[in-house]
């Protein structure tokens, strides 16, 4: 049972008046992460919207020590800092509780450019939390395709729709045998909060991926950010699960699809609400294109259902 919204702590780590777009899902998610981690944390930011939205020197929109690092080095920089802090503690140069070191990267800094360093950090099982806020494109630089972009999506580099499906990054991280992997989204803040609290309590590499529907990249009305996030989960396009030491458990409402109690909604409504799909889903081959996307979604659900049964 997820924590009730009324019981979430009051602490705010994302300060009002930062430079993010109105309705930004990344700051929405980061607020929940801040409530769970508290002030004793060190934040690493790869080039992403979150760097642009932290404000201009000498003002900072996040209430943590923030370090801006290069695109490819989310895993390695976080490993360095967590080791440095531990050694400082050992030598008596640091007092009090060790801070949580976490990197806050977009899908480019996780799926594509940051993958090598992240994979290495996972293999070494460094004591960090890697957050990927996944807006399914390089939204900061003007919406280019990334490894997280699903099939059939319009981006500026795939004007006729992306031909390949997205990769399942959370599952890839799980195969590194790390202690904790979870997926979350902004429409279920209590679920996200619980997952971050759990990740904070575990020692070792933790990976949490958050679906963040970007209204500019996905081309919908900015007030519907949370609605789109909820529709993604209800249609099965985004699955909510967590893996504690390799054992996958699904969270509601995804758990209902997996157990077969309820069927996910058809993706049509979810697709047609987004300009990035609906501008291509016109003309005689629209039905085939929708069927193709629905096929990807169904395959992912079926695959994860079977994958969750494997536990040794």
């Amino acid at each position: 049972m997820a924590t009730s919204i009324k019981k979430l702590p009051d602490i705010e780590q994302v300060l009002s008046g930062n430079g993010a777009c109105g309705g930004c899902p990344a700051t929405m998610a980061l607020r929940m992460v801040g409530k769970a981690l508290g002030p004793n944390a060190i934040m690493l930011l790869t080039p992403a919207c979150s760097v642009a939205s932290m404000g201009m020197t000498p003002k900072l929109g996040y209430n943590w020590p923030c370090i801006n690092i290069t695109f490819a080095s989310a895993g390695s920089s976080a490993s360095g800092i967590t080791n440095a802090v531990e050694i400082m503690k050992e030598k008596g140069r640091f007092e009090g509780e060790l801070p949580t070191v976490f990197s806050w990267a977009g899908d480019g800094g996780t799926y594509d450019i940051g993958f090598q360093a992240l994979s290495a950090a996972a293999e070494r099982n460094e004591n960090i939390i890697h957050f990927c806020y996944n807006n399914e494109a390089y939204s900061n630089t003007g919406v280019q395709r990334s490894g997280a972009t699903p099939r059939g999506t319009f981006t500026t580099t795939t004007p006729t729709g992306k031909r390949q499906p997205k990769k399942n990054m959370a599952l890839l991280m799980l195969e590194h045998n790390i202690p904790y992997v979870a997926t979350a989204t902004v429409a279920y803040p209590a679920d996200l909060y619980d997952k971050v609290v759990k990740a904070k309590s575990i020692k070792g590499m933790k990976y949490i991926e958050i679906l963040a529907p970007c209204y500019l990249g996905w081309q919908f009305d900015m007030a519907d950010t949370v609605q789109l996030s909820r529709m993604a989960v209800r249609s099965g396009a985004w699955l909510l699960w967590e893996a504690d030491n390799g054992r996958i458990t699904f969270n509601n409402p995804t758990a209902q699809f997996i157990s077969g109690k309820k069927n996910p909604e058809a993706v049509d409504e979810y697709l047609m609400k987004q300009g990035r799909f609906s501008r291509l889903l016109q003309g005689p081959d629209a039905k085939e294109r929708i069927a193709e996307i629905q096929g990807d979604v169904d395959r992912e659900i079926a695959f994860m259902r079977e994958r969750a049964k494997i536990f040794i």
Binding site: S16, N18, G19, G22, G23, P25, M32, G55, K59, V226
Partner: protein, 85 residues
């Protein structure tokens, strides 16, 4: 010379309004009807800007960007978006 070096020291400090008074970006203003409000705190939890007061359900218009997420998510329809003058 020393003061110049200090002023350009590349360190930022957490401050409200790091992006300026972002309330000026707003096209529509969210207005709370307190008679309909049940204080469920959904608007507070979904607000990306953290401008909604959790207890009183009041909005800090200095920083509210007017995205309208609170109005869409409000289950009783107590928040309406009104065009900014």
């Amino acid at each position: 010379m020393r003061s110049v070096t200090k002023a350009y020291r590349p360190i930022s400090w957490p401050t409200l309004g790091a992006g300026g008074d972002t309330g000026s970006w707003r096209m529509h203003r969210p207005v709370v009807n307190h008679e309909l409000c049940t204080k469920c705190q959904f608007c507070w939890v979904y607000c990306p800007e953290a401008v909604i007061d959790r207890k009183a359900i009041t909005i800090d218009y200095r920083y509210c960007k007017g995205c309208g997420v609170c109005a869409v998510e409000c289950p009783t329809g107590a928040i309406t978006m009104e065009k900014e003058e």
